[in-house]
């Protein structure tokens, strides 16, 4: 059997992508529906976006969510990178299996369990719940994802680059900042982006660990969605989808350009 397009392969991929994208496309289209009824097309309109702009509670929630995601993703990136270094570089140490267990378990742990356990912690040490407790919770969850992403880069990192720096007189701490970090930076950035989106997206853990005055956007959306579909939610969803799509496409175009440049460089090298 040759690699190539058979009608079966083409059809299954086409249907698969139709399934993946149809709901999103429909959601976006209906955000421009003038009618309040989701199923009736009442003509093109941007009134739900205008309404959204006047919904102070929704905007507040969005602002809190954004700050939360920026802060927790940054903290998670620092902690997760340290954790990745620990796992890849420090060989065996006391409690290593406990450590790697604590890194991998949150990845598959149901959110309800993580959320509940963190809430009970915050209650038992009696701190006021709100923005900060959610930040701590998100940092804890997302640092494990960062650790895994950075770890997979560090595993294939050529150690002799660091040894070469040491050999040329560069002390270990400085070597990390001038050699290692610049080279694993793409993975660290990818980890940060993953942490950012996970924090942006989280409903369950935030619901458990939040307190008065810190309602995140997913919580706000969830509470409205329970009462059915509203075009305003479609509108805010469309905005979120657009932002993410632009981000992901820009990142992949950037990668593509780098790839083209690399190929050009290789041709140059062959010419001598």
């Amino acid at each position: 059997m040759r690699k190539g397009q058979s009608w079966f392969n083409t059809t299954s991929v086409a249907l698969g992508f139709a399934f993946l994208y149809a709901p999103i496309v429909i959601l976006v289209i209906y955000s421009f529906n003038d009618s309040k009824l989701v199923t009736v097309w009442g003509g093109f309109s941007t009134r739900w976006y205008v309404e959204l702009l006047n919904d102070q509670a929704m905007l507040d929630a969005a602002w809190i969510t954004l700050r939360l995601a920026l802060l927790s993703a940054t903290m998670a990136t620092i902690l997760g990178t340290l954790a990745a270094i620990t796992m890849v570089r420090f060989g065996r140490f006391l409690g290593r299996s406990v450590f790697s267990g604590m890194i991998y378990a949150p990845l598959v742990m149901p959110d309800v369990i993580t959320g509940l356990s963190l809430l009970l912690l915050f209650v038992s040490i009696d701190i006021d719940r709100g923005f900060w407790t959610v930040t701590l919770a998100h940092t804890t969850l997302t640092m494990c994802f960062v650790a895994v992403v950075v770890q997979s880069r560090l595993v294939v990192f050529d150690r002799s680059l660091e040894e070469a720096a040491l050999d040329l007189g560069c002390p270990p701490f400085k070597t990390f900042f001038v050699i290692t970090l610049p080279l694993i930076l793409p993975a660290v950035v990818a980890g940060w982006m993953l942490a950012f989106t996970l924090s942006l997206d989280d409903l369950v853990i935030a619901s458990f660990t939040t307190g008065p005055g810190a309602t995140t956007l997913p919580m706000k959306i969830f509470s409205q969605v329970k009462f059915g579909v509203t075009p305003e939610i479609n509108a805010i969803s469309t905005i979120l989808i657009t932002i993410v799509a632009i981000g992901v496409i820009a990142a992949s175009l950037f990668n593509k350009r780098r790839e083209v440049e690399r190929q050009k460089a290789e041709r140059l090298a062959l010419q001598g």
């Binding site: 002799s160 040894e163 050999d167 460089a265």
Partner: protein, 383 residues
């Protein structure tokens, strides 16, 4: 095995034969263990200033570990490593006056060629103008003046190898460590570069320590070679001695092609050794002085090119000779390898240099032939 110099002598440089010479680098009873695995076993070795020294052996023999301990990347479990008489143990790699050229080159991919070469100089706190001058000097040395602004991935394998070399030489290290430096190059380029390395070492007057698994490379570049196996040094000697006077079957077999014939010592002592070989059904006579008891197990080692092959029986019946039949011929262009089957069933290899283009009647398959060799053509080995 110190003896009269045999074979071509590269230059009149042999401090290892001078008992008053001070070693530049000295490994003293060095042992390195990784968990249960012993990579280097109670090893002692002296290397002299301006020497081009090769560590040769199969992968996993401990040669790389030995070099990495000198560079400071691994610390010995026991023993000490001295450079100019000072113990290096405990000094981190970034404070050692050695530099290493890595097998993978380890060029920093996010820096230009010039920045790579300047890296070590910057760490040493050299003034900017001096760095610039030194970088230019190094680029000239490796003939890469035009490539200063390029990144490593924009260069060919051979060019990268030269950048790595320039980077490791820039700080004028007391010892340059070369870890399989030419392993990634193709055969032709590798051979050219070997001669360039030799010239460079001679002109700079530096001490080079090279790790390689390629015996030809070691023979070409090095003043002396240490053949390693399982964490110990089996023999340290000049390339010619290693080839002509291997001290063991391991070394004889590892370097080049050889016939190893098992036998029992028939007579030994001053004036010659006689070895009765059941495999060939004959007794081998050599001029070698061997300390062994009669009846001891020993091996006669002879290189295929040291055997003469002919259709005629030797005129002198006292010469070492074997009669057999040509079983196989390998034609390699410059030489031909003959596999000669003896009546006992053993096979002996002999090579002929194809010195003339047209031979009237070359020796062919199933020809009855005689193999002869002189009394000093081979060595008797007891281990």
């Amino acid at each position: 095995m110190v003896g009269p110099a045999i074979g071509p002598v590269r230059r009149a440089f042999a401090p290892w034969n001078d008992p008053s010479a001070k070693p530049f680098i000295e490994f003293r009873n060095v042992t390195k263990r990784f968990g249960d695995f012993v990579a280097v076993k109670d090893l002692s070795l002296k290397i002299y200033e301006r020497e081009f020294f090769a560590l040769l052996g199969p992968s996993g023999c401990g040669k790389t570990t030995l070099m990495r301990m000198l560079g400071g990347f691994d610390e010995p479990t026991e023993g000490s490593i001295l450079l100019e008489g000072k113990d290096l143990v405990g000094i981190p790699p970034y404070r050692r006056p050695t530099n290493m050229m890595f097998q993978s080159y380890a060029l920093f991919p996010h820096m230009t060629v010039a920045d790579n070469i300047a890296f070590g100089l910057k760490q040493a706190g050299m003034p900017k103008a001096d760095i610039q001058r030194r970088v230019d000097e190094m680029l000239t040395l490796v003939k890469l003046e035009k490539f200063a602004r390029r990144k490593p991935h924009q260069m060919s394998g051979g060019q990268r190898q030269r950048v790595a070399l320039a980077r490791s030489l820039a700080k004028k290290p007391k010892v340059l460590l070369l870890d399989e430096p030419l392993g990634a190059l193709d055969k032709k380029l590798r051979e050219e570069t070997q001669f360039e390395l030799m010239d460079l070492q001679m002109n700079l007057g530096m001490t080079f320590l090279i790790v390689t698994h390629d015996q030809e490379e070691a023979m070409t570049v090095a003043d002396r070679i240490a053949v390693m196996n399982n964490g110990v040094i089996v023999q340290v000697a000049t390339p010619a001695e290693i080839y002509e006077q291997p001290n063991s079957r391991y070394v004889a077999d590892f370097i080049g092609d050889i016939n190893l014939i098992e036998g029992k010592v028939a007579s030994a002592g001053e004036g010659g050794t006689r070895l009765a070989c059941a495999a060939t059904g004959a007794t081998v006579e050599t001029n070698q002085t061997l300390t062994a008891a009669i009846g001891d197990e020993a091996w006669f080692a002879i290189r295929p090119e040291k055997m003469r092959i002919s259709r005629d029986a030797p005129a002198d019946p006292s010469v070492n000779a074997l009669a057999g039949e040509v079983w196989d011929i390998g034609y390699l262009g410059d030489v031909s390898i003959y596999h000669v089957r003896l009546p006992t069933g053993a096979t002996v290899k002999a090579t002929i240099t194809n010195a003339t283009r047209l031979v009237e009647r070359p020796i062919s398959w199933e020809d009855k032939v005689w193999l002869t060799w002189s009394r000093d053509a081979g060595v008797v080995l007891t281990r």
